[in-house]
């Protein structure tokens, strides 16, 4: 599904990613773990096409299509979804309007017809119910005044509506108490499927108790220094990053 080959990227002229190779098969969930400053968020922004993140070498293929040539909205249409670490508040734009614009923009670029208001609301209400959210979310402006947990749930709702091929979850656990974490993880798990791959980026192992990955990779100073099964996350939790990084050096 996703092939990252020798990916180098710079921010403001400083190289942050120094040759990442990663392959995620269809339906697989991979976790990237790493200490602060290892390049985790940079990887998520490079995958989603944010301005200011310059790829200097390497390639990223999603279902064989080179993502790096595409604008952020084209990547969304190709099936990339980034769940933000800090979802952006957009006062004045009702959540429903935003979701409808997003879903129909993606449908349009995939050559599908736009959903009319009735069809859209029907699908939206069903997803909201599945995620155990309240309809109240829909009337409010996008993320404006939402709690940390509400924002992350809103990210999961958007993912559910957009049905991406590749979901990148950037520090989805940050700022969440255990109940909110569990609710968000349940939402993410419900979206796991044979046609959807996920890349879960996290600092802590805690999230991976709830979203159990197929593979775990340790990122340090812009490189993947070790990969393993879910047990690697436990080992990291027990030993800390310092030991693992030292052992790999």
């Amino acid at each position: 599904m996703l092939e990252i080959k020798n990916l180098h990227a710079t921010v403001d002229g400083t190289e942050i990613l120094k040759g990442i190779d990663l392959s995620i098969g269809a339906g697989e969930v991979h976790a990237i773990m790493g200490p602060n400053g290892s390049g985790k968020s940079t990887l998520s922004y490079v995958l989603s096409g944010r301005d200011g993140y310059e790829v200097t070498e390497g390639e990223v293929l999603l279902k064989g299509q080179n993502l790096l040539d595409l604008a952020p909205e084209e990547r969304a249409a190709a099936g990339v979804f980034l769940a933000f670490q800090y979802p952006v508040e957009i006062p004045g734009v009702p959540n429903t309007t935003f979701l409808k614009e997003a879903v129909n923009a993606v449908r349009k670029s995939r050559g599908e017809s736009a959903l009319d208001a009735m069809q859209f609301l029907k699908v939206l209400r069903a997803k909201v119910k599945e995620l155990g959210m309240s309809d109240e979310y829909l009337k409010r402006a996008v993320n404006a005044g939402f709690s940390g947990g509400e924002k992350k749930r809103n990210e999961v709702l958007q993912m559910a509506m957009l049905e991406p091929a590749l979901a990148v979850l950037d520090e989805t656990d940050s700022g969440l108490d255990i109940d909110a974490l569990k609710a968000v993880a349940d939402g993410v798990n419900a979206l796991r499927g044979p046609e959807r791959s996920m890349l879960v980026i996290t600092h802590y192992q805690r999230l991976l108790d709830y979203i159990v990955p197929d593979r775990v990779h340790v990122l340090s100073q812009g490189r993947i220094i070790r990969s393993g099964g879910p047990e690697l996350a436990k080992e990291l939790e027990a030993k800390g990053y310092a030991d693992i990084i030292e052992a790999a050096a």
Binding site: G49, P72, R75, V93, A102, A105
Partner: protein, 441 residues
């Protein structure tokens, strides 16, 4: 040889030809009122950038090489349809002016409720000129007010809306000024005279539009008086053609417990200036002046306001928000004056502008002049580009760059429209906002 419009010599010449033919000529107090206006204009001339409040809006330059035909002598073509901001099924009270001339054909004045006077000013001056005495406010002797003095001298049309004490006028009064109905560039001087009696309520919808690019000039003065306990809601939409010049001055006076709320939506004209001079004369008077401006190309839009708190316990809120694209230029000069006796004044002013292009410009100058010591006053101004984080967030969800920009600008401005209390008018405003956004590059 091109004549320059609105120079003192040109106006003097015109006065010699026209003064005797202006509606109401021969009525002593009105003749005096006009003569005083002419005298003041003669002394000050057209206001130019050397005057403090005209620093950012160069009217003489905008009028250079332009010449106009006075409304009284211009030929007009017929007009099939006049756009309305009200829903089609609404009951109407409507006055329509085509380049400064009242059009009975497009107006609707039947079934006026008891206690309501609504008539074109030319008719009032002919039939009952005494009704205007005391309602017309002469321009102060002030060079910055020269356009109002010019209007005092030359106004020949407009409307009188008078609502008697205790009357609730539920039907909005719609006044529509259409420019560009003549092959010539028409200059007109109009007057809106509005008097809301004690405890009365009314809604006024003032709509400026053009046929085509509308190359005329309108100099409009509004005298609005809201008596004790009365309320007026005023929507003002200025969407004239992009070659027109639109100059407007509003004198607003509020007595005790009076309420006035306005929303000024501006997307038209090559050059526009709206001056507001609001005076809160009685305790608990409350004024809300909101404004939205959407300008592009080389449009220039100026709002210059003064809110005067003269007695204790009055409140004023002013929120002006807009988006400027291309090389458009916006001007916002807002002054709050709190006189010595005006303790417990609550005054808030905010101006926020989105600059959608590097060459767009806003000159924002909020000012407080406070002579009382126990007041709550605040002002603020911001200007900037669209939030890059929000743009990326929307694009990462599949919205195109243009779509994301439009959605953010829409949200920014729509907030003011959603705050406007007359729900039936919001759809037309949102439609205009969306239409403007479709033209954004």
């Amino acid at each position: 040889m091109a004549t320059e419009a609105l120079t003192v010599s040109e106006i003097e010449g015109r006065w010699r030809d026209l003064a005797g033919t202006l509606p109401g000529a021969g009525i002593d107090w009105l003749d005096d009122f006009r003569a005083q206006g002419l005298e003041q204009f003669r002394a000050s001339g057209l206001p130019g950038p050397r005057l403090e409040s005209w620093k950012y809006t160069n009217l003489p330059r905008a009028l250079r090489d332009r010449s106009y035909t006075p409304a009284a002598t211009a030929q007009r073509t017929s007009l099939d349809r006049v756009a309305s901001l009200l829903p089609a099924e609404s009951t109407r009270l409507r006055l329509v002016f085509l380049d400064g001339r009242f059009s009975a054909e497009h107006s609707q004045l039947a079934d006026l409720p008891e206690g309501v006077t609504l008539a074109p000013l030319s008719r009032v001056l002919r039939d009952a000129p005494q009704r205007l005495e005391g309602l017309l406010q002469a321009a102060d002797y002030d060079r910055e007010r020269a356009l109002q003095a010019l209007n005092d001298a030359l106004f020949d049309e407009g409307l009188l809306l008078s609502v008697s004490s205790g009357i609730q006028l539920d039907t909005p009064v719609e006044v529509i000024f259409v420019g560009g109905t003549s092959d010539e560039a028409v200059e007109s001087h109009q007057r809106l005279v509005v008097s809301i009696g004690r405890g009365a309520e009314a809604t006024l919808v003032e709509h400026h539009q053009s046929v085509g690019s509308g190359n005329g000039l309108l100099n409009l003065v509004s005298d609005i008086h809201v008596a004790a306990g009365a309320g007026l809601t005023h929507l003002r939409v200025q969407e004239t053609g992009d070659e027109s010049v639109h100059l407007a001055g509003t004198h607003l006076q509020l007595e005790r417990d009076a309420r006035y709320r306005s929303l000024a939506f501006t997307s038209g004209a090559a050059l526009s200036r709206h001056e507001i001079d609001a005076t809160l004369l009685g305790e608990n008077a409350d004024v809300t002046l909101d404004g939205a401006y959407l300008l592009r190309g080389r449009q220039h839009g100026d709002t210059t306001s003064v809110i005067r708190h003269t007695v204790p316990h009055t409140s004023a809120r002013q929120t002006y928000k807009g988006a400027l694209d291309d090389r458009a230029r916006g001007v916002f000069q807002g002054r709050i004056v709190v006189e010595q006796d005006a303790q417990k004044t609550d005054g808030r002013m905010l101006n926020k502008t989105l600059l959608l292009s590097e060459k767009a410009e806003i000159d924002s100058k909020p000012e407080l002049e406070i002579f009382a010591d126990d007041v709550q006053c605040a002002h603020g101004a911001t200007a900037g580009e669209l939030d890059a984080d929000a743009l990326f967030y929307l694009r990462s969800r599949g919205l195109s760059q243009e779509g994301a920009r439009a959605l953010l600008v829409e949200a920014f401005v729509a907030e003011l429209i959603e705050d406007f209390p007359v729900e039936a008018l919001r759809p037309a405003l949102l439609e205009r906002l969306q239409h403007w956004l479709l033209g954004t590059s």
